[in-house]
Amino acid sequence: MKTELGNLGNDGLLRPLKQGDNFSRLDFRRTVKNRVMLGLLGLASLVAILPLLFILYYVIHRGIAGLSIRFFTQLPKPVGETGGGLGNAVLGTLILVGLGSIIGVPVGVASGVYLAEYRRSKYANVLRSAVELLAGVPSIILGIFAYALIVVPMKGFSALAGSIALAVILIPTVAKTTEEVLKLVPDHIREAGLALGLPRWKVILRIVVYGSRSGILTGVMLGVARISGESAPLLFTALNSQYWPHGLLNPISSLPVQIYTYAISPFDEWTQLAWTGSMVLVLFVLVANLSMRALIYQKGSGGKTK
């Protein structure tokens, strides 16, 4: 088969399309380029996960030195004195996150249920956009929102203001994961419930939501993990405090804000507390994420065997 591209036929397979060594040099170049570029993709992936390994290593390496019962039970000591802990910040974070969850979780779950169960309605589309856009609002802006909503009218920084800021951050996360989890429930299960003569709301609550409770709970855990690491919206709502929390209408200390304050302080005692606080936060976030992962995995493989 004689063509303008050279003899393709009978004299050996790997003779290229065009005569001459030119072409095989090109082929060589293509092969090398292929190897190099694929190698670069792998290298990029390594580069991308390197920061995670570094951060985990540093946070644990530096944080573990300060880990003791004292860290959870004592107030920070003034400069110059050794010892002390971040007990107030741990408790403060628990209060802030707890109150934020009490406000945010019902709204988030309700939104998620609506999005999943009435997904074709007009309002669901509006709600879906609102949830997505709220998720994209920088958390510091939500701090300003809580400031305007609570701090200004009540004339003072307060745990309540901080909790509201955190609740607003929590809502989209919980709504989205709840929607995802409920969408995993196949339609025939809903139909089976309806066919039994149950009203729709009972089908949704008793069958769909109840059946997905562990998934929803993990979604809530993920959201809670996320807000427990938030500091920007607390800076001018919950502010900070050197004392044990007292009341929801006073400033309150929190782990992230304490980490921020101590990270930029020049005292070794304080930076040690910052590292240990970071370790506690990171481990909590990791555990929450891993359990979500385990649950999805379990659900996925469980579904196949059924």
Partner: protein, 256 residues
């Protein structure tokens, strides 16, 4: 042009696996140059998998494994050091669904095999595009809109575009994996017509689920069942006088 009775393509004791599942069992098949060979059989019989071992596309699937030899003009394409990329340039392929590249124009789609291989000569590219499109019986329909995206064509035209794309690199062998299964009857007829023209230039191996198609346009037919090659003969012989009972049952519509 050298005329010879030597097979251009020859599969020897081919075994193919997906993980632990053996999809092809000990298949040997010789293909004469400038012929059309049809692979038929019920779905799941391995005919497509076998086809994909012939240009080493099978191995791109995770978990896929291959044993045996495939000789193209006497050389084993699975030999050590043989580059699958080179192999595939010599053995073109047309797929079940038309798959022109949506980001490329009609012209770019036809010559993409050449541009990949480093051909930059504009004149040569245009010449090749024209002759490939003519050979694929598409030239008259697209010559005025070569810059339009390849996906702007109808399904049948897209499939002929893909045939032109395969022809443009002038491979000695073209594999076709149920090329008309996604097309309407008129487009199917045009492509069947094309097969007769194409074998002047290339050797065609075509997988089809349609026995009439195999009878109409192939010189040889190979019948696959459960991963085995049951029977391979000249098409008229195979369809009128099958040697194996299973072939007979299949072509008389007893199963599949």
């Amino acid at each position: 042009m050298k005329l010879t009775l030597e097979p251009i393509l020859s599969a020897k004791k081919v075994n193919a696996y997906f993980g632990a599942f053996q999809a092809i069992k000990d298949v040997s098949l010789d293909v004469a140059p400038h012929s059309v060979t049809a692979l038929i059989g019920p779905s799941g019989c391995g005919k497509s998998t076998f086809l994909r071992t012939l240009n080493r596309l099978h191995e791109e699937i995770p978990g896929a494994r291959f044993e045996g030899e495939v000789l193209l003009e006497g050389e084993d394409i699975y030999a050590r050091g043989m580059d699958p990329v080179q192999v595939r340039r010599k053995i073109g392929m047309v797929f079940q669904k038309p798959n022109p590249f949506p980001s490329l124009s009609i012209f770019e789609n036809v010559v993409v095999g050449l541009t990949l291989a480093g051909v930059r000569n504009r004149h040569l590219l245009e010449e090749t595009a024209e002759s490939a499109l003519k050979n694929a019986a598409l030239w008259d329909e697209v010559k005025d809109k070569l810059k339009a995206p390849g996906t702007s064509l109808s399904g049948g035209q897209q499939q002929r575009l893909c045939i032109a794309r395969a022809l443009a690199v002038k491979p000695p062998v073209i594999l076709m994996d149920e090329p008309t299964s996604a097309l309407d009857p008129i487009s199917t007829a045009r492509i069947e017509e094309l097969l007769g023209e194409m074998k002047k230039e290339v050797t065609v191996i075509i997988v089809t689920h349609n026995m009439q198609q195999a009878a109409r346009c192939s010189d040889h037919t190979a019948f696959f069942l459960l991963g085995e090659l049951v029977e391979h003969a000249r098409s008229p012989t195979l369809f009128s006088n099958p040697q194996d009972r299973r072939t007979e049952q299949y072509i008389t519509g007893r199963f599949g």
